[in-house]
């Protein structure tokens, strides 16, 4: 893994140069706007909801965007004939994304601390964002593998959001009230993500936190295996074959 750090710093440099980080910061500003204009003074409960959107959808999108830039410019080919292995490449992309998630979290938390009231377990929410960002960045890889172009990626994201994220959000805002459906939702990753983020504000059963943590960790391992296995086929395709 001796080139992992080189790839990671390269990813972050390019995220800056290609304005991917800028777009992410812009989204943070939108979330700050939401926090600012809400009449709720203590934002401990709404805070995990905003971070949920960033750590899930933005993670998938940012991986897809950076990979599409590489496809478009042929730079993936240049990386493939460099002394790196696919694990270094995948992990560098995932962790650069996690860095972006953490920056967003840091900005929002700083705003909430200064201008609002917030009472959350900081270590808990940072750990949750790392796990959720990691998992969803890998989902971003899968969506990119199966997307022919950027529009395809966006469509894939929309489908993912519709199936996995919206039901969880509907439950959070009280539209889905059934306890049974609430339990069934544990089969989808977005539910685990939401549970972990909300647990930082307290009031979540320990079994639910453990189950969600296990889901995110095991899910990441399984998806990582899949992403790594499919990478060779993707690389061959992107090398111009």
């Amino acid at each position: 893994m001796n080139n992992f750090l080189v790839l990671l710093t390269g990813e972050i440099q390019r995220m800056k140069k290609y304005n991917i980080l800028g777009a992410s910061l812009l989204v943070s500003i939108i979330w700050i706007g939401v926090l600012h204009f809400t009449e709720i003074e203590n934002v401990s409960n709404i805070f995990p909801l905003l971070i949920f959107l960033d750590a899930t959808s933005m993670s998938m999108l940012l991986v897809g965007v950076s990979m599409f830039f590489e496809k478009q410019e042929g730079t993936l080919k240049s990386l493939l004939i460099s002394p790196i292995n696919k694990n270094e490449y995948i992990l560098a992309k995932v962790f650069s994304n996690v860095v972006s998630n953490i920056i967003t979290l840091g900005i929002l938390y700083a705003y909430a601390r200064i201008f609002k009231e917030i009472d959350i377990n900081v270590l808990g929410i940072f750990s949750a964002v790392i796990l959720i960002g990691f998992f969803h960045s890998l989902i971003g890889f899968i969506l990119t593998y199966y997307s022919k172009d950027f529009t395809g990626l966006l469509m894939g994201m929309l489908k993912y959001s519709f199936v996995f994220m919206i039901p969880v959000l509907l439950q959070e805002v009280g539209i889905i009230k059934s306890e049974l459906i609430g339990k069934i939702l544990y089969i989808i990753p977005s539910k685990s993500a939401m549970v972990l983020l909300k647990s930082s504000a307290g009031g979540i059963d320990i079994w639910s936190i453990l189950l969600s943590t296990a889901y995110m960790i095991l899910g990441s391992v399984v998806i990582y295996y899949f992403v790594s296995k499919k990478f060779d086929k993707f690389a061959v395709k992107e090398s111009g074959v």
Binding site: V6, E73, K77, I81, S82, P83
Partner: protein
């Protein structure tokens, strides 16, 4: 350096093999040209030799060891110059090179290379401000930045003006003179003629000819000498057998007594060999 034996490859969605049992060797320190019409398998061969494709049959040895046994350290020893630009367009040339240099154990003096190819003054410009020719030259520098032992070059002078093409060809010659090995793929037969020690012509996934450009020209040319000379105010033509030239009285009389206008041995050109051997026009 590379020993390729019975190399066969088929793309998953294809019904026929793209490569049908190629056998050839690239010797250490030589410039080896891989030529043939588009779609004949040149790029596929190059991708296999650079380990971008691995589900082939046959045997490839690099330094007497199976190519499949090499891991990422293989890339420390090779440089690949793609035909199309492969740079991060929103990074400067210098930022691109600095990033890639960090991945290698050995680094060339890229400032020196940039000076040689005339890009040093523009090294702090974003690549998206570069012309096509500048990107091609930057590709070339990218291929050399790790002091490779083997260079894979795909159309290295394509899109370059004659002056810059000359610079690139001189660097390739210097690379060879310093012990480097080159696999060159190009459609420009003048480059092949000038640079390659040996060439292989591919046709229908097989090697149709493999030899030095000179031997190929001799093999495919006619062994005759054509003369044009002045006689009684007009221009006359004559052809003589090259092998018995010294004993040909008529030839000797003409060159002694007449004013010679032109004299040519009928060696063929690589362009003609390309067309004859591959059976297609070279622009196909």
């Amino acid at each position: 350096m590379f020993k390729v034996k019975d190399l066969t490859f088929r793309y998953p969605k294809n019904k026929v093999d793209t490569l049908k049992g190629l056998t050839f060797e690239i010797k250490e320190g030589e410039i080896f040209g891989l030529l043939g019409p588009s779609g004949v398998g040149k790029s596929t061969t190059q991708k296999i030799l650079t380990k971008l494709l691995d589900n082939y049959s046959g045997e490839i040895k690099y330094k007497d060891k199976d190519l499949k046994e090499y891991k990422k350290e293989f890339y420390q020893e090779i440089g690949v110059g793609f035909e199309m630009p492969v740079h991060f367009s929103k990074l400067t040339a210098n930022e691109n090179l600095t990033f890639f240099k960090k991945l290698y154990k050995s680094n060339a003096d890229t400032d020196e290379l940039l000076k040689k190819v005339g890009l040093y003054e523009d090294k702090d410009k974003q690549v998206n401000e570069y012309s096509k020719g500048m990107k091609v030259r930057l590709n070339f520098v990218r291929a050399l930045l790790n002091n490779p032992k083997v260079l894979f070059l795909d159309e290295p002078t394509s899109g370059l003006d004659p002056k810059n093409a000359r610079v690139v060809k001189d660097i390739i010659k210097d690379f060879k003179d310093n012990g480097g090995t080159v696999l060159l793929t190009t459609h420009l037969m003048n480059d092949v003629d000038e640079l390659c020690d040996r060439v292989a012509f591919l046709a229908d996934g097989q090697i149709a000819e493999i030899d030095s450009p000179k031997n190929l020209k001799l093999k495919h040319g006619q062994r005759v000498v054509d003369l044009e000379y002045a006689e009684d105010g007009s221009t006359e033509k004559a052809s003589f057998d090259l092998d018995s030239l010294g004993a040909d009285e008529e030839f000797l009389n003409i060159i002694k007594e007449k004013k010679i206008i032109t004299i040519h041995s009928k060696e063929t050109t690589l362009d003609d060999i390309f067309i004859n051997v591959t059976g297609v026009g070279k622009d196909e």
